[in-house]
Symmetry: C2
Subunit: 261 residues, 2 copies
């Protein structure tokens, strides 16, 4: 009899931000198929007796193609295993969880989703910069700034250039200078604040406060380690007054990076 | 000495979708200031000895004005209490958590945020309809469909009419016919799928599959109980094939509502 596959969001990195259901499933796991971006603090919760299979997505490249990941999940479930498929963030927001679910459904294998706090929410709670705020942002939008090799960025710039909506860019560190320039060309204010957050909610969190005009140069001077999330919008301007502190041991790094903004 | 205020997201309703940190704080709470929309299943986790203060936001109206909520939090913290401020979803997505934080910061009271699974993620995981999916949605956007009495809907229709982005409308049940009509006028396909989900992730979850042309009439025929979330976009078209089942006891209600779609 085929096992079941649990498509689980690991959240942004802090194990305390796992959902209760995700933690329970992880702690009783026998077999974990995980993205490399899942934080070491969360992987440490997996029982030592469990078999762990890393399937890539480290710093922007896929070491195992998605089709092969789908096959691995189907094969393991057909062997009767209960499979924990652990992804950073939320499996249904840029997580390709629904592609894996399609393969499982086609093979007649049961599955369920356990949502996770997505990086935008983690960075928001950690930094104190809200995703919506009365008078500053009536909504929020998530896009990816990643592009396939040699491809152009496939984003609708006119639609994105809405200063009343907080724009969160995932996987955009390599293309942020171009993204910022295109947003300005589409009508966004040149001084619209941008807060970049690396490793949000983990002990490795760093932050860079900048604006649309400067963010490209700032990142060139002070590169940030992936994963980096960009919060673009008036809400990021609250960072100067509403910022929540980083853990003490990282304060100096934080100030160094922010001083480039 | 002033106490600390914890601005906590309760998530979409299922207690298993609380974060680990939120659960721990709730279970040791002495004083809870909560929105009425927080599910009874989650309120049941609060110790019987804790004092609970409901502050409204029941079905779209604020029984306690936001300014007064801010004052209550400041007063309780000044009395030395550790205060759990519990909100549905995520405090930083349509939760006005950052307005409360501003009041606390102005009064010199320490606070922190604990993010929560937002309703869109809960509905996505529960129904199986992803928020992004290769070839169907490159990003996702959250807006509110609520409007102040006698006011017009303040949304940028041209910007919203992007069929490559999943559009999630919170608090829009009362205005969905107008929202759908305006999206069509701005260029969205008339047959763009819409999945409405009420009480997502709770035992009271119901669903209605429709499209932009029909959703207004469908809701008029089969009103759904607040809170209702709308997932608008090609991803909602996956519901017919990828739908995850509701708990058995609700299956017939589910089918009845879906049959109106």
């Amino acid at each position: 009899m085929a096992g079941k596959v649990y498509l689980i969001g690991a959240g942004p990195g802090d194990p305390d931000l796992l959902t209760v259901r995700a933690l329970r499933l992880l702690q009783s796991a026998e077999l974990v198929v995980h993205d490399r971006l899942v934080s070491p603090e969360i992987m440490a919760l997996v029982p030592a007796t469990a078999r762990c299979i890393p399937v890539g997505k480290a710093a922007g490249f896929h070491s195992v193609p998605q089709d092969r990941i789908n096959e691995i999940l189907v094969e393991l479930a057909r062997e009767g295993h209960s499979v924990i498929r652990l992804k950073g963030g939320d499996p249904l927001i840029f997580g390709r969880g629904s592609e894996e679910a399609e393969a499982l459904a086609a093979a007649g294998i049961p599955y369920s989703y356990i949502p996770g706090i997505t990086a935008a929410q983690g960075a928001s709670a950690s930094t104190g910069v809200p995703l919506t705020h009365r008078g500053l942002a009536t909504g929020v939008r998530y896009v990816t700034g990643h592009r396939a090799k040699d491809a152009t960025l496939d984003l609708h710039w006119e639609s994105l250039a809405d200063p009343d909506t907080t724009l969160v860019v995932y996987m955009g560190a390599g293309n942020m200078a171009e993204i910022a320039a295109r947003l300005i060309a589409a009508g966004m204010p040149v001084d619209l604040p941008v807060l970049a957050v690396s490793h949000a909610t983990t002990p490795r969190e760093t932050r860079l406060l900048s604006d649309l005009t400067q963010i490209g140069a700032d990142l060139a001077r002070a590169p940030m380690e992936a994963p980096v999330l960009f919060m673009i919008g008036r809400v990021a301007g609250l960072y100067e007054t509403a910022a929540l502190p980083l853990p003490r041991e990282l304060r100096s790094a934080h100030l160094r990076v922010v001083s480039n903004g």
